[in-house]
C-alpha cells in the first residue's frame, strides 16, 4: 500500500513479524506476528479495543520496549539490535512520544518539561528554554510556561506533553490517544497541530478510539487481540486534504 516507496530511501518505520509476549502466569500475546510499514511522511492511525496492543505497538516503535520476536526498524535501522545507549539516542532524537498518561516531571515547570529532551542532547539552557517557549506558544500555552504539571488542567498537560514530543523536531511522532483527555475544541487544536506536522513532512503514528480522529489520517490500522485485523485507506476526499 503506502509502504512501497519508489526512491531508495528506507521507510520511516518497519515492523516485521513482531510479537510481544508477556509471560506472567498465563502468557499474554500483547502483539502477535504483526508486520506493518510506515512510509516517510505518512500519517497512520491505530484503532482497536482496549487491551488490543496499541500502546504496545507504539512502545516498540519508540524504543521503550523490545519485541519477543521479529524486528522493528526505525529509519532503516534495526532498533532491536542496538545498544542501550543507541536506543536512548533514537528515543531522544528520532521519535517524539506523546504518552497516553502524559508522563511529565512533577517538579519541573511546563517549559522545563518541554525542554527536558534537549538537556540530554547537550543543548544550552537559554536555547532550550527559548525553543520550549516557542512550542508552548504553538500549543496555546504561552502563558503557562512557569506552571508545574500539578498546576495545569488535564488538557493543558496533554498539550505540554505534545510540545515536549515536538521539541527535538523528530522525524517520527508517536501519539498515544493525544485527544483522550481533552474537550472537542482542544482536541481539534491538537489534531490541527498534527495535520501541520504531517504537512511539514513528519511521519505520524496516532492511537485513538475515535473514528472521527482516525479519519484525519491517511490510513487506519485496526488491531484486535494483538493481531492486525485490517488496514483501511481513508477516503481523502472527506478530509479535503
Amino acid at each position: 500500500m503506502t509502504g512501497d516507496v519508489a526512491s531508495g530511501e528506507p521507510p520511516a518505520v518497519e515492523l516485521d513479524a513482531v510479537s510481544r509476549t508477556y509471560t506472567r502466569g498465563e502468557p499474554v500475546y500483547a502483539l502477535d506476528d504483526v508486520s506493518v510499514t510506515l512510509a516517510r511522511g505518512s500519517y497512520t492511525a491505530v484503532m482497536g479495543p482496549s487491551g488490543s496492543g496499541k500502546s504496545t505497538l507504539l512502545n516498540l516503535v519508540g524504543c521503550l520496549d523490545t519485541p519477543t520476536a521479529g524486528t522493528v526498524s526505525v529509519a532503516g535501522e534495526d532498533v532491536t539490535a542496538l545498544s542501550s545507549r543507541q536506543r536512548a539516542r533514537v528515543r531522544g532524537e528520532e521519535v517524539g512520544f506523546v504518552f497516553q498518561t502524559f508522563n511529565l516531571m512533577p517538579r519541573l515547570t511546563a517549559e522545563e518539561n518541554v525542554a527536558l529532551p534537549l538537556v540530554f542532547q547537550g543543548v544550552a539552557r537559554a536555547e532550550r528554554l527559548g525553543r520550549a517557549r516557542d512550542l508552548l506558544d504553538r500549543v496555546g500555552l504561552g502563558d503557562r510556561t512557569d506552571h508545574r504539571p500539578s498546576e495545569l488542567s488535564g488538557g493543558q498537560r496533554q498539550r505540554v506533553a505534545i510540545a515536549r514530543a515536538l521539541v527535538t523536531d523528530p522525524a517520527i511522532v508517536l501519539a498515544d490517544e493525544p485527544t483522550g483527555n481533552v474537550d472537542t475544541e482542544t482536541g481539534d487544536r491538537i489534531m490541527a497541530l498534527l495535520d501541520d506536522l504531517h504537512a511539514a513532512g513528519n511521519t505520524i503514528l496516532l492511537v485513538t478510539h475515535q473514528r472521527a480522529i482516525a479519519d484525519r489520517a491517511e490510513r487506519i490500522v485496526r488491531l484486535r487481540d494483538g493481531e492486525i485485523e485490517g488496514i483501511d485507506a481513508v477516503d481523502t476526499g472527506g478530509a479535503a486534504r
Binding site: L64, S84, R85, A88, R91, G92, R107, V119, F120, R164
Partner: protein
C-alpha cells in the same frame, strides 16, 4: 548531559526534599565535625607540649630509668637508680659541662611563723639547676661540698611563696617536716621568677615548687661499685659544654650507663636506663599523643561511616520513589550514563554539603575543647582540606550502588510504575 546540567537537576531534587536531605547530610556533618574536633584537640595538645620543649636548651641530655617499652611518659615512672658515684663519673665524661641530679624528698608539712602548709614532697637538686635561670629575689643555694655541713637553704617559686600568708620572702625561716618526723630548718635564699618546672623531667606545669640542696635528699642505696651508702636519684640532667656536641655526649653517657654504671645494676628487671635528648623525649610524647589522637579519630571515622550508610539508604529510597521520573527521562533520551551521573551527583552534593558544614562545626568543637583544656588552638589545616575530599569520597561510595540501580531501570517498567 554535562556536569552543570546534572548539578542543576540534583540541586532541584534535593530542594524537593529539604528536611530529608538535611537529616541525611547531618550524618556526614557529625562525622566530619567529630574527626576535625579530635584532630584539632590532638594537634593542639601536641603543639603545646612540643612548644615547651622548644624553649628548653638543646644541649641537655636527660637520664631516666623507665619501663622497657616504647612510648609511655618518660620521667614520671623513672626509678631511682643514678647514684652519686654515677653522677661523679658522668661529670668526668668528655664534653660534659655539668650534671644535675634531681629527686624528690617526701615531706608531710612546711611551716613558717606558726603557719603550717601540708605538702607531700619537695625537690632535691644541685645549684647547677639554677644556672641561667632568673630569680625574682635572692639566688641559688650554696653548693654542698662533701664533708661540709649541708646548707640550710631553700629556693621557692612565687606560688610556693604565696602559700604562706604574707608571702615568703628571702631570709624567712621555714621548717620542713621530712619522713620520720625529722624537721629541717632552712632559710629561703631565692625566689624564682616563674612556677614552671626547670626541665622536661619535672614537667612544665605551673605549680608551687620548693627546692632543697641535694644533701637534704634522703633516698640512699649501697652503690654496687663502691660498696658505700649513697644518694640515688631517679632523674639526672647532663648539660653538654657545646650544643653541637649533644649527640656525641649522649652516646658517651649511654655507653657509660650500659657498661659500668651503678644505674644499670640497680635498675629493676625490664627497666631501661637511657640517655635522651629533647628531641627523643619530644618524639616519644608525639608518639603517645598521635596514638591517642588516632584512636579517638578512629571512633569519629565510624560515625562518618554511619553517615555514609545514611546517604546510601536515602539514595536508594530516592531511586525507588523516582522510578517514574527515571522512566520519563529515559523515554525522552537520557542514557544510562546520564541517569547514573544524575544520582551520583546528588549523593556527592549531600556528602560534600555535609562536609562543608561539618568543617566549621568541627573547628568550633575543637576550639571549645581546646579552650576548655586551656591550650592554644592549633588548626590542622590539612585535615580541613581533607574533609572536603572525604565528603566527596563518601558521596561517591555511598551513591554508587543507588545510582547504578537507577541507571539500570527499564524505561517501560518505570513508566508503568505507580
Amino acid at each position: 548531559m554535562n556536569l552543570a546540567e546534572s548539578l542543576r537537576l540534583a540541586v532541584r531534587s534535593i530542594r524537593g526534599h529539604k528536611l530529608r536531605a538535611a537529616l541525611t547530610a547531618l550524618g556526614i556533618v557529625i562525622g566530619i565535625a567529630a574527626v576535625i574536633t579530635f584532630v584539632t584537640l590532638g594537634a593542639s595538645v601536641k603543639a603545646e607540649v612540643v612548644g615547651q620543649f622548644d624553649d628548653s636548651p638543646a644541649n641537655r641530655v636527660f637520664l631516666v630509668a623507665s619501663p622497657d617499652d616504647d612510648g609511655g611518659p618518660p620521667a614520671a615512672l623513672s626509678q631511682p637508680v643514678f647514684t652519686e658515684y654515677d653522677v661523679g663519673r658522668i661529670e668526668d665524661i668528655e664534653g660534659v659541662d655539668r650534671v644535675v641530679p634531681r629527686g624528690t624528698i617526701a615531706t608531710s608539712a612546711l611551716s613558717h611563723g606558726g603557719e603550717t602548709v601540708a605538702r607531700d614532697q619537695v625537690t632535691a637538686t644541685t645549684p647547677a639547676l639554677f644556672e641561667s635561670v632568673t630569680f625574682r629575689a635572692g639566688g641559688p643555694f650554696a653548693d654542698a661540698e662533701s664533708g661540709d655541713a649541708c646548707p640550710a637553704e631553700m629556693v621557692v617559686t612565687p606560688s610556693a611563696a604565696a602559700l604562706f600568708p604574707g608571702n615568703l620572702s628571702v631570709g624567712d625561716r621555714v621548717s620542713v617536716t621530712q619522713r620520720g618526723n625529722r624537721t629541717r630548718n632552712v632559710t629561703v635564699v631565692g625566689i624564682l621568677d616563674g612556677d614552671a618546672g626547670l626541665n622536661p623531667l619535672a614537667g612544665f606545669g605551673s605549680q608551687p615548687r620548693f627546692y632543697l640542696p641535694s644533701c637534704a635528699y634522703d633516698t640512699v642505696v649501697t652503690s654496687p661499685t663502691t660498696g658505700t651508702r649513697q644518694n640515688v636519684y631517679p632523674q639526672v640532667t647532663v648539660v653538654a659544654e657545646n650544643p653541637g656536641d649533644t649527640a656525641a655526649v649522649q652516646d658517651r653517657v649511654q655507653d657509660y650507663l650500659d657498661a659500668e654504671s651503678d644505674a644499670a645494676q640497680l635498675a629493676p628487671e625490664s627497666y631501661a636506663v637511657s640517655a635522651q635528648t629533647n628531641d627523643d623525649i619530644v618524639q616519644r610524647i608525639e608518639t603517645v599523643v598521635d596514638r591517642l589522637t588516632q584512636f579517638v579519630t578512629g571512633i569519629a571515622v565510624i560515625s562518618l561511616l554511619v553517615g555514609a550508610i545514611g546517604i546510601a539508604n536515602i539514595m536508594l529510597v530516592s531511586v525507588r520513589e523516582r522510578t517514574k521520573e527515571i522512566g520519563i527521562m529515559k523515554a525522552v533520551g537520557a542514557t544510562n550514563r546520564d541517569v547514573l551521573q544524575l544520582f551520583l551527583v546528588e549523593a556527592l552534593l549531600l556528602g560534600v554539603g555535609g562536609a562543608l558544614l561539618g568543617v566549621p562545626v568541627g573547628v568550633a568543637g575543637g576550639w571549645i575543647a581546646v579552650t576548655y583544656a586551656e591550650l592554644p588552638l592549633t588548626l590542622p589545616l590539612g585535615w580541613v582540606g581533607a574533609a572536603i575530599g572525604i565528603g566527596l569520597l563518601v558521596g561517591v561510595v555511598s551513591g554508587l550502588y543507588p545510582a547504578w540501580s537507577a541507571a539500570r531501570v527499564d524505561p517501560i517498567d518505570a513508566l508503568r510504575y505507580e
